[in-house]
């Protein structure tokens, strides 16, 4: 599991500590990850869209979802896994 946002390490560390996340939160401050995964349209975007990918063991995209209902989405993904 990897989270990703355009926040810096300090903001994401605070977020991880608050939420008890034990997995990496990626600090995509230059938006390269967001652009590569179509979560944003420009390197000057303030934040990425809520997008979730499942990447298979072979490195191929298994699922690509615009996340609307965050809690429901997580449950659906787990049910499929």
């Amino acid at each position: 599991m990897l989270g990703a946002s355009f926040d810096d390490a300090a903001a994401n560390k605070k977020f991880a500590d608050e939420q008890g996340y034990t997995y990496p939160l990626l600090c995509d401050t230059d938006r390269k990850l967001g652009l590569a995964y179509k979560a944003c349209d420009s390197a000057s975007d303030s934040w990425p869209r809520r997008v979730t990918y499942v990447i298979g063991k072979d490195g191929k995209i298994e699922q690509a979802i615009h996340t609307q209902d965050v809690a429901g989405q997580a449950a659906a993904l787990l049910a499929k896994s």
């Binding site: 599991m1 990897l2 989270g3 990703a4 946002s5 926040d7 390490a9 903001a11 994401n12 560390k13 605070k14 977020f15 991880a16 608050e18 990496p24 939160l25 990626l26 600090c27 995509d28 390269k32 990850l33 967001g34 590569a36 995964y37 179509k38 979560a39 349209d41 934040w47 990425p48 869209r49 809520r50 997008v51 979730t52 990918y53 499942v54 990447i55 298979g56 063991k57 072979d58 490195g59 191929k60 995209i61 298994e62 699922q63 690509a64 979802i65 615009h66 996340t67 965050v70 993904l77 896994s81």
Partner: protein, 61 residues
């Protein structure tokens, strides 16, 4: 045009742009995490990875 699409348009919902296609190779990345560690997709080969983008740290949802 599907009924769902028409309803979405009537409600003023924006069409979301397409994502990377299912079955395509996930672009490799090398990005620092919140603890300053480098995270490379290539290093995770052989594991299933869920990558979720969120707009802003410490915001609801």
């Amino acid at each position: 045009m599907s009924i769902l699409k028409r309803v979405a348009e009537m409600m003023g919902m924006k069409q979301l742009p397409p994502l990377l296609p299912v079955g395509s190779q996930a672009p490799d990345f090398d990005v620092p995490d919140h603890l300053g560690r480098r995270v490379r997709l290539a290093d995770l080969r052989g594991k299933r990875v869920v990558l979720w983008f969120y707009p802003k740290a410490s915001t609801p949802g």
